[in-house]
């Protein structure tokens, strides 16, 4: 089976623990569930369970169920055999024949079940179309196949985010040069990045860690362009800039 491409895996890896419950939910839900159980709140969704019935009722339930199943099977068999008998009695014993007059004028000819293709159709079928030549043997030309090839870009949001996260992790761990190298790689990979702002923020953050004075202008440019960015406060701290009002 075809594996998911790397950018799809990257998105799943990011999203995997995003739906985890809040820390206090576990205790709260357990308490509420136990209260509901204690209150006898058993009328929730799901099919009725025979295991909750007393043994005598359970035995009776299964007895009735078995009898009903037996009746149902008998009814199906009866209807099936009646239908088969009806078909045998009403169907002609021999296959359909042409009228006698036609039989006299033309020699009898077995009628094929599938009409043979005419000459034009046969020649069309013999010569492969251009699409057939391009398409590998056995490939399906479904709606999705066309859609995939028409719109599938290599650079997706998930792939971009993954590269930026890698860079961010390196910068956070103090490997600033490696972080900057990953940001360079990001810019090389994505000609029209959707996350250019985040990339600029991370670059400013990294450079401020190396030399706050030298990177101050770049940091100010970033903060002016993206004052509400999630990276803004980190950039301000790293570059020792005053908070923007």
């Amino acid at each position: 089976m075809a594996e998911l491409p790397p950018h799809a895996k990257a998105l799943l890896a990011l999203a995997r623990d995003a739906d985890d419950p809040p820390a206090d939910a576990k205790v709260r839900v357990q308490r509420a569930a136990l209260d509901a159980i204690a209150a006898g709140n058993h009328t929730l969704v799901g099919p009725p369970s025979t295991s909750s019935l007393p043994p005598t009722l359970r035995a009776r339930f299964w007895g009735v169920a078995t009898n009903k199943a037996g009746l149902f099977v008998s009814a199906v068999l009866l209807v099936g055999s009646s239908w088969a008998a009806y078909r045998v009695l009403t169907e002609p014993a021999l296959p359909h024949r042409e009228p006698i007059a036609m039989l006299e004028s033309q020699p009898p000819q077995a009628r094929p079940l599938v009409e043979p293709p005419d000459a034009t159709a046969a020649s069309e079928r013999a010569e492969p179309t251009r699409a057939d030549q391009v398409r590998p043997a056995g490939a399906k030309l479904g709606r999705h196949a066309t859609k995939m090839s028409a719109t599938e870009p290599q650079d997706t949001l998930a792939a971009e985010m993954l590269e930026l996260l890698q860079a961010s992790a390196e910068i956070e761990a103090g490997h600033v040069h490696e972080g900057l190298r990953l940001l360079e790689r990001y810019r090389a990979h994505f000609a029209h990045p959707a996350r250019a702002q985040e990339s600029a923020g991370l670059a400013a953050l990294a450079k401020c860690q190396l030399d706050p004075r030298a990177a101050e202008a770049e940091a100010r440019t970033f903060l002016a362009a993206a004052p509400t960015s999630v990276l803004a406060s980190r950039v301000q701290r790293a570059c020792e800039l005053e908070a923007t009002p």
Partner: protein
């Protein structure tokens, strides 16, 4: 996550009042082990965020009622998923009746802006949620269990009570749709 087996919980009562242990697996052990799984399943099976807590609670009430049906050799995760699926179905209908707008009002959205990584995860989760919402129930269940919960195909087959080839077939189609969805998203944004 380690699977709860009869060996690990047999005879061990994980802090429940007397009488709540049914069979070889106790309610509390299953709750402790699988609460997060059930919660995530609810969210991924399309339960509105404001209803996830109630849905998880109901799933465990149902679990308590049906605990004796859980065979010792069966996967508890698979069993819980089948319960969660039914509960989630019911809650989705509730959400349709109440209307998404009203539920969104009930949901207390945190205004706190987190660090870059948290934002990235939230974005990824939102993208995933949008994809899952457009999948049909059958493919969504297989995709969630295989790609997000990393369950094996036999486990999924047991959880959904479908044969193994059906699991593979649904997973293949769901993956294909996911790639198409991401491509379309990429094209829309870029």
């Amino acid at each position: 996550m380690q699977e709860v087996t009869s060996a690990t919980v047999q005879g061990v009562q994980v802090g429940p009042p007397a009488g709540r242990a049914v069979g070889v697996r106790t309610f509390d052990a299953l709750y402790a082990e699988h609460f997060e799984f059930v919660w995530r399943c609810m969210r991924r099976l399309g339960v509105h965020p404001s209803l996830v807590e109630d849905a998880a609670q109901d799933a465990f009430v149902v679990l308590h009622r049906r605990l004796s049906e859980l065979r010792p050799e069966a996967s508890a995760k698979a069993f819980l998923f089948s319960v969660a699926q039914r509960v989630a179905h019911d809650y989705r209908r509730t959400a349709q009746r109440k209307g998404a707008a009203r539920l969104d009002q009930e949901l207390q959205v945190s205004e706190e802006t987190g660090p870059f990584e948290r934002t990235a995860k939230a974005e990824a989760a939102a993208t995933l949620q949008a994809f899952l919402a457009q999948l049909d129930d059958e493919k969504r269940a297989v995709f969630v269990l295989a790609e997000l919960e990393e369950m094996t195909a036999p486990e999924i087959s047991e959880a959904l009570e479908v044969n193994l080839n059906t699991v593979y077939s649904r997973l293949r189609l769901a993956r294909q749709r996911f790639v198409e969805f991401l491509a379309a998203e990429g094209a829309r944004h870029g």
